[in-house]
Symmetry: C2
Subunit: 698 residues, 2 copies
């Protein structure tokens, strides 16, 4: 099982090896015209230290930049490992077509493809077809290109060169590649690669995660994403790579686009960004809160080894920032370490009596480098996994000397060491030193704590990132469900009757409430008595309470007659059903939401009015097995139901996990189900859960 | 009413005028010893440009810094407007005592007072007594001092001088004064005053808000607070000043200290930081999320006029940052402005066709200064109150020229203009220009949007910051309540019986459920029948469900006998009561929480299991009238109860407001009530709300 994946990853690695590490590069569209993309690329290749061969291609010139200029790629008599194409779309297509026997790797920076409409899309389709036929690797089109600092290759039209290091950055926005490069210079972040993926015709974030996952130079993969096309595959690959190294994602586009009219309750509830969150969590991916947090994460992760444990010691020369840092730990998974008595005693030996030896350890405003250095030494003997050094530049503070001591300390410790120096001019030089020594500086305590926590959570999560569970479809069941749906569609209905829905639920082992269809009179041989519920069962009346299609608490024959009479009057040609009234302990809602990236997602949460009030539903991204679902349930916002609180017996978590697993199977198997929800699902601590209303839209 | 406040504020202003603007300053403890506080202060006075008279005081010297040195303050033959005292606590006390006829204003930087324990507290008490007797103004003790850049007076032991401007900063941490000064230099933030308040023996944040509220040089007051002693007064003063100018607060110490054992549900629920939030909201104060946000708010507010409306136009040269900015507006009170068609047409006249004329307006990666400038001109004719200019430094981007255009534009517009340039080296020079021109730069879109929103919300809130409502105690009612409580205390009880609690509720017009006390048999003449509830009514059994002290759904005499038998067996000597069973539509909880800063606070929220699950209670800080409470209810997390949803009739908001107002009156009037809650309070949309259980701890 795992071997298959390993082979896949290796294949991807081999396939792109030459693409990212070419011995020779050609620029199609090279020009001497300043300001042109083809000019920047040519100069990037010629002037930034790339030691491979460079060929310039432009049919209008014989010579460019004092070297030979070729008419076409085919004319080049030597091997070309990579071609960068910067000419209008039609010509680009032509160039690839003609040279596709000779050249196998392309960066196509040219715009004018699928991003521009139907005509462009046609060109892109043609390009894809060639790539598939000729087994080409194409980055783009409509991209900035990529940069590989290790071989000083800037195959892009962004200026400059980054330092070579351990961060691979893959971006759906070229501008963010440029911005990150510039920020990185200040923060001393170093890159293995920076890749702008453009239209992702072929080489997308999934292929690149796979590739950089295998690249031993890469310690952290950063992604800027606006959308994910193949959600399930993304989760599968990212999860596998996350078990090895952290993937940090900045996902833009949180705001939901206008939703289509949706009839089921679940459909209307679920936000696609919340599903994205769930998918990232399943994939073990570190999601950045925003651009600043993304930069912080890249800085902290690329400069530190994994966080050993949740305990953090904070050292400060001022009380105020110490208190603010304490606040920053609130509701976090990392925490201020308890300082042991023996440690406190060691600290008291040299700290002034007004110092605090509690965490944050307050060295006072007149702390010098010796006080910092001795304190760090003492902390080194504790269990804490990380040390955060705060500093405000007070009048007597030897800021640079303190930085020197921190740098010295870092060389001899296996703890994570972060600094948060707060100030302007007075700390500038010290920061430069720290950055050059690879010590992450996140200038505000909140940001430092947030970045460290996310890194810590990745380390915890990776322990459970075993392979995604596989599932097989139950074909006999699929057939039966499709028959039921086919019949309903044939009748011209867009929703199933309760009787049909209940039959499907039966196939999946979900218990539904007893019922009887009512025609003209009362059905005989009922399995239940009063009190009863009468309701209309129709695809035209989906929100029953809104339109008074539901009458509760019917106590006797007479009330039943009245109720049915009223329903018949209001809904003349619709099917009516009766059900036994259920006692309510806890109402839940369970449904299926079709997500553009991740396919059918199971949604669950509190039912009744609380669904809408708290809008705190939970998502399950398939595939998952019942055991994984059970863990999810316990960690969810309805986890409290399965713990005994205030002397109450808990509800059965394994029963609930089975129900959710069944719904997940239904979601995968029954492709003609457009929307689905059980609302309410009544759960108890002393009897079986029961689905009271099951809505299946087809 | 308002005049009284105005006079108070004027008085405070006059009282401190000379303190902050002295014509002569003496330093007690001046010394030539480098590294000593008295040395730094002397140099700060002599070398940073202060033009008033400076007197050095130190009995050990005749001359210091080439000028006369006095033995004592009394020896100085001229007037001394302000004395800065930097000698050990005992001597400081002595110096103030002896000179208190001559000098009226003191900064006492000396430590060794109440912060050090009982002996220090005694000294501080003595100092306070002198101050009161002699009508002195004392800042500190144990403070850094203050800085008034307008007259180049640095009356502190922080080095350096800030530029003179419109920000007053008051801090309970000296280190943050130092850090803010250093950050401010970089960001070009200018100060009217920086004040470190130390132990706040006399001059605290309230007095200073009052003073700077009246100071016309001050446009924004920034506060760093770790605690608020006089909560009610803080709200009253801050609310009055907030109606004139924004007060930005960074409140540290969110994490709750270990709580005392608390018997009522409400007491255990309420977090003091959430109450702090409510108090700030009532006071119209802008609360910063964290240190970074605090600096951002000071920068944005000090450099811009109030935000005119919620509409913001974002101009960008890259799509990615545009999408991230769109995300930043999610769930915010400010929003991306709708771009009108006529505006789009004007933009299309000069923008390339691939540009986006939707908001964010995307000028594309090759945008130059002309494209920015023309776009800004067009935006100037729209209704939007603010414009946020994003920029990533792409290869061809003329960053400085674009900054120049933004600066030019800002001079001729009444809109708020913010920039968020994202990068490192490439944007440095442009940022410097922008800062010098007073244009706030908040380097990440999230931070810019958050700061702008908070500023906007202040502007909205100030409209309703009329005077705090006054209330009078109903003395007759107070007397009756105290009688009931006195009697129970006399019986040795720590909680009231339901009968007593119901009587008190009756005095406040809150409807309680019918009940009867059960002695040996059944009470006669009941007003209610079955189903019933039987429960133990005792101060020893407060959480009834935990200990099975509550039996629900008793259907007949026989069940009642059994129930009472069981209760008598489990709670042999306790009082038992019966009540009619209530049908439940919606359970709420209402209580009183005694807060260390704000006194008795009314707490309300969802009852039943949801209280604990969601922990989303709401707070009312007294005093408030019923109308204000009604507004609060509608905006609270139970506001949905008072709107009709899904065809359901809403509950009565004015009835609920009356109940909460009654509880607030009780909280103010009944000082011997230690804890109080109604749990549950049942509310309906077709009948009167009823308190089922009322717990009063005395």
């Amino acid at each position: 099982m795992f071997n298959i994946f390993k082979n896949k990853a290796k294949e991807e690695k081999n396939k792109l090896e030459k693409f990212f590490n070419p011995s020779s590069v050609a620029v199609v569209g090279a020009t001497a015209n300043l300001g042109k993309v083809g000019n920047t690329i040519a100069k990037n290749l010629l002037e930034l230290g790339y030691s491979g061969k460079v060929f310039l291609v432009n049919p209008k010139h014989d010579e460019l930049f004092d070297r030979k200029c070729y008419k076409s790629l085919e004319e080049i008599e030597e091997a070309v490992d990579l071609a960068i194409v910067a000419i209008p779309a039609d010509f680009a297509l032509e160039a690839v077509k003609k040279s596709s026997e000779k050249v196998k790797n392309f960066v196509i920076v040219s715009a004018g493809f699928s991003e521009t409409g139907m005509e462009g899309k046609r060109k892109e389709d043609e390009l894809r077809a060639i790539a598939e036929e000729k087994n080409l690797n194409i980055l783009g089109p409509n991209c900035l290109g990529f940069i590989n600092p290790k071989i000083k290759l800037n195959a892009s039209f962004a200026g400059g060169m980054s330092e070579a290091g351990n961060v691979a950055f893959v971006s759906q926005s070229g501008a963010l590649v440029v911005a990150l490069m510039d920020v990185a210079k200040k923060e001393n972040i170093k890159f293995s690669n920076l890749v702008s993926v453009g239209n992702e015709m072929q080489m997308n974030e999934i292929a690149l995660i796979e590739y950089f996952g295998e690249d031993e130079n890469v310690d952290v993969i950063g992604l800027y994403l606006e959308g994910i096309k193949e959600g399930e595959k993304f989760v599968e690959v990212a999860r596998r790579v996350s078990a090895k190294k952290p993937i940090v994602v900045l996902k833009a586009g949180k705001t939901d686009r206008a939703q289509k009219a949706i009839s089921s309750h679940t459909g209307a509830l679920a936000g696609s960004d919340a599903i994205m969150n769930e998918a990232f969590s399943k994939a073990g991916v570190v999601r950045a809160e925003n651009l600043e947090n993304f930069f912080d994460l890249i800085e902290v992760i690329s400069k530190s080894s994994a966080v050993k444990n949740e305990n953090v010691i904070v050292v400060t020369n001022a009380g105020g920032p110490g208190v603010l840092t304490t606040d920053a730990f609130e509701n976090k998974k990392i925490k201020l370490a308890e300082i042991e008595n023996k440690t406190k005693e060691k600290l008291r030996e040299f700290l002034p009596s007004e110092s605090s030896v509690e965490n944050p350890i307050d060295l006072l405003g007149d702390a010098d480098e010796v006080r910092y250095s001795k304190t760090l030494e003492v902390c080194n003997d504790t269990e804490a996994g990380s040390i955060l050094c705060l500093l405000t530049p007070q009048d007597q503070t030897p800021v640079e000397k303190i930085a020197d001591e921190i740098i010295k300390f870092k060389r001899n410790t296996d703890k994570n060491v972060l600094v948060a120096f707060i100030g302007g001019e007075k700390i500038e030089k010290a920061l430069k030193k720290l950055q050059e020594s690879g010590i992450p500086n996140v200038p505000f305590p909140d940001r430092a704590v947030l970045a460290l926590e996310k890194y810590y959570k990745w380390g915890k999560a990776r322990e459970s990132l075993f392979a995604v569970s596989e599932t097989k479809k139950n074909q006999a069941r699929v057939k039966k469900v499709e028959e039921i749906i086919f019949k309903a569609k044939n009748d011209g209905r867009t929703a199933l009757f309760f009787s049909e829905a209940a039959e499907i639920m039966g196939l999946y082992g979900v218990n539904t409430v007893d019922f009887a269809n009512v025609k003209d009179g009362m059905p005989g041989g009922l399995n239940f008595g009063f009190p009863m519920v009468a309701k209309v069962d129709s695809d035209k009346t989906l929100h029953k309470t809104d339109k008074e299609g539901l009458i509760l608490g019917i106590k006797n024959e007479q009330e039943l007659d009245e109720a049915l009479g009223r329903l018949r009057k209001n809904f003349p040609n619709e099917n009516l059903i009766i059900q036994p009234m259920q006692d309510i302990k806890m109402e839940l809602i369970v449904g299926i939401k079709h997500d553009a990236s991740f396919g059918p997602v199971v949604v669950y949460g509190l039912g009744g009015i609380y669904t809408e009030i708290f809008k705190q539903v939970n998502f399950l991204i398939s595939p998952m097995n019942a055991e994984e679902i059970q863990k999810h349930l316990l960690a969810s916002n309805i986890g409290f139901l399965f713990q005994s609180t205030r002397g109450q017996k808990p509800m059965d978590v394994s029963e609930m996990a089975e129900i959710l697993h069944s719904v997940m199977e239904l979601a995968r198997e029954a492709e003609s189900v457009l929307e689905f929800d059980i609302n309410p699902l009544l759960v108890y601590n002393n009897k079986k859960a029961v689905a009271v209303d099951v809505k299946i839209i087809i």
